[in-house]
C-alpha cells in the first residue's frame, strides 16, 4: 500500500502507459494489463513487483482518487436525499452515504437527514464498496469517522498521500507526535489539520505541502524530522506541555 521509504540509492522505476513491466509469469495487479507477450503498464506510475506472490502493479503518479474499499476519505456533502447523502470525495465518482451507514433509522416522514449532515458539511468516512458502475458507498460508523467539526483542509495530489502516511505509518506517527496539531489523512487527497494555535496549523500545512512536493525524493522522512526538530528546539521556551525534552531526545 505505502510507497517504500528509499533506503537504496537506485531510482524507483517510473513507467508510462504501454511499457512492458513483466513477463507472462506474473499476475497483473492494479495499473497493469495483460497483452499477448507479457504485462504492460496502463498508467504513468511506479512499478511494484511482489515477487513472493508474482504480482506486478503500477502505482499512479498522477490522476484523481479512485475509491477502494476500506479507504478512509474526507468527503463533502453536496446533496441530502430522503434516505441518503451524496458526497463529493474528490474523485471522478460521487459517493453515496446511506442513512443506515450513518446509524440513522430511515423514516423519510419523521427524519430529516439534514439534522445529521447538511449540504457543505465535511465527513471523515470509510469506503465500503465500489465497482465503478454504481456510486461508491460510504460508512461513517467507526472510530474517528463522522462529521469534521473544525480545522483546515489541505488538498494534496491523491497519489502522494501514501508518503504522508509513510512506510507502516512512519511519517504520520512522527507528524502526530511532533506537530502540535491533530491530523486526519484522507486517501482521497484531503488532509484535515486541526489545532488551536493558527501558527501551528499554518506550520503543519507547510509541512504537508513539503511532503507533497518532495514525495518522490529519498530521505524525505529524515529531512522532515530535521525541520520539525529544529522548529521545536528553538521554540522550547514556549513549550509548556513538557514533551519538548522528550522530542529532543528522540532526535538522535
Amino acid at each position: 500500500m505505502k510507497l517504500s521509504e528509499g533506503q537504496t540509492t537506485q531510482a524507483r522505476e517510473v513507467v508510462v502507459p504501454g511499457e512492458k513491466v513483466a513477463d507472462q509469469g506474473f499476475k497483473p495487479g492494479e495499473g497493469v494489463y495483460r497483452d499477448a507477450d507479457g504485462l504492460y503498464s496502463s498508467l504513468l506510475g511506479v512499478v511494484e513487483r511482489d515477487e513472493a506472490r508474482s504480482v506486478v502493479r503500477v502505482r499512479a503518479l498522477r490522476g484523481q482518487y479512485i475509491p477502494h474499499p476500506e479507504d478512509i476519505i474526507i468527503g463533502k456533502v453536496i446533496e441530502v436525499g430522503l434516505t441518503d447523502w451524496e458526497v463529493d470525495i474528490n474523485s471522478p465518482y460521487m459517493a453515496k452515504l446511506d442513512a443506515r451507514d450513518a446509524g440513522v433509522e430511515v423514516d423519510p416522514i419523521t427524519v430529516d437527514l439534514r439534522r445529521y449532515f447538511d449540504v457543505g458539511d465535511y465527513l471523515a468516512a470509510k469506503v465500503v464498496a465500489f465497482d465503478r458502475v454504481t456510486p461508491p458507498s460510504l460508512t461513517v460508523m467507526g472510530k474517528g469517522l463522522g462529521k469534521i467539526r473544525g480545522g483546515i483542509i489541505v488538498s494534496v495530489i491523491p497519489s502522494r498521500v501514501p508518503r504522508i502516511i509513510g512506510k507502516k505509518g512512519s511519517m504520520i506517527s512522527m507528524l502526530d507526535k511532533m506537530l502540535k496539531v491533530h491530523l486526519v489523512v484522507g486517501q482521497n487527497g484531503y488532509v484535515v489539520v486541526q489545532g488551536s494555535d493558527p501558527d501551528e496549523v499554518a506550520f503543519a500545512v507547510s509541512i504537508i505541502r513539503k511532503i507533497e512536493a518532495e514525495a518522490y525524493t529519498y530521505g524525505l522522512t529524515d529531512r522532515i524530522k530535521e525541520i520539525l526538530t529544529k522548529r521545536y528546539e528553538n521554540q522550547n521556551g514556549k513549550d509548556s506541555t513538557g514533551v519538548a525534552s522528550q522530542r529532543r531526545r528522540c532526535k538522535e
Binding site: 531510482a11 517510473v14 502507459p17 465518482y93 458502475v133 525524493t217 529519498y218
Partner: protein, 251 residues
Amino acid sequence: MGKIAQESLLSDDGVRSDGRRIDEARPFEVQVGVLTQANGSALVKQGKNLILAGVIGPYEAERHSQYLDRGVLRTRYHMQPYSTNERKSPTFTRREIELSRAVREALEPAVILTDLPRAQIDVFIEVLQADGGTRCASVNAASVALADAGVPMRDLVTAVAIGKVRDTLVVDINDLEDENGQADFPIAMMPSKGKITLLQMNGLLTQEEIQKSIEMARGVIRSLYEVQVEALKRRYAPLAASGNREGGSDA
C-alpha cells in the same frame, strides 16, 4: 496562390526547403504538466507547431451522456487567431470539427475507456502556432496530456505526416511541403503495439509508396515516442538526490 515548383522543395542532392534530409524529422520537444487547473497537460513543439493540450477529467458524465460499461472521450481542436500567417477567425471552422474527430479517433484505441464507466474525459487542444502537420502534433500533445492526467491507456499515441515532394517521399512535412507537395499522409500509431490509429491521405500515391510511407512513419514515430516517454519520466521520475524538488502542480 500559385504552387511552388517541386524542385524548390527538394534539391538534386536530397535537401529539403528547410535544410532537412528526406528522412529527417523536425525538432521535437515535449513539456509535461505545464498547467495547474487541467488534470493533465502537455506542450509540444514540432517544427514550428506550438500546441498546448489540456485534459479535464475523468469526471462523472451528465446522466444522459453516461455509459454504464465505458467512459466517454471528447476532444476539441482549436486554433488561436494568431497561430497562422493570416489571422484566423476565432469561430469554430469545419476543418477544426473534422480534426477534433480525427484526433479523438486516433486516441480512443489507446485509452482504456472500459476502466472508466460513467465517466467523461475532455481533451482540449489549442494550436498556438501552426506549421505543417498540426493534427499529428496535436495527437502527440494530447496523448502525453492524457498520460499526465493519470488516464489508463494501453499505450501512448504518436503521429507524423509523410509527404511527397518532387516524386519523393519525405517525413514530417512542414507548412510549405504540406501546401505545395504531392501528398499529405498523416499516420498515428500506438508505438509499442505497432498499430495504426489514425490514417488519412490526400494526394496521389502508389501502393508501393503507401507501404514505404508507413515504414518511414514507423521509424520517425519510434524516435518521437522516445521523446514523449523521456518528457513524462523526466517530469515525474524520482530524484535520487535528496532535497531536489519533484515537479507537480506546485512547480
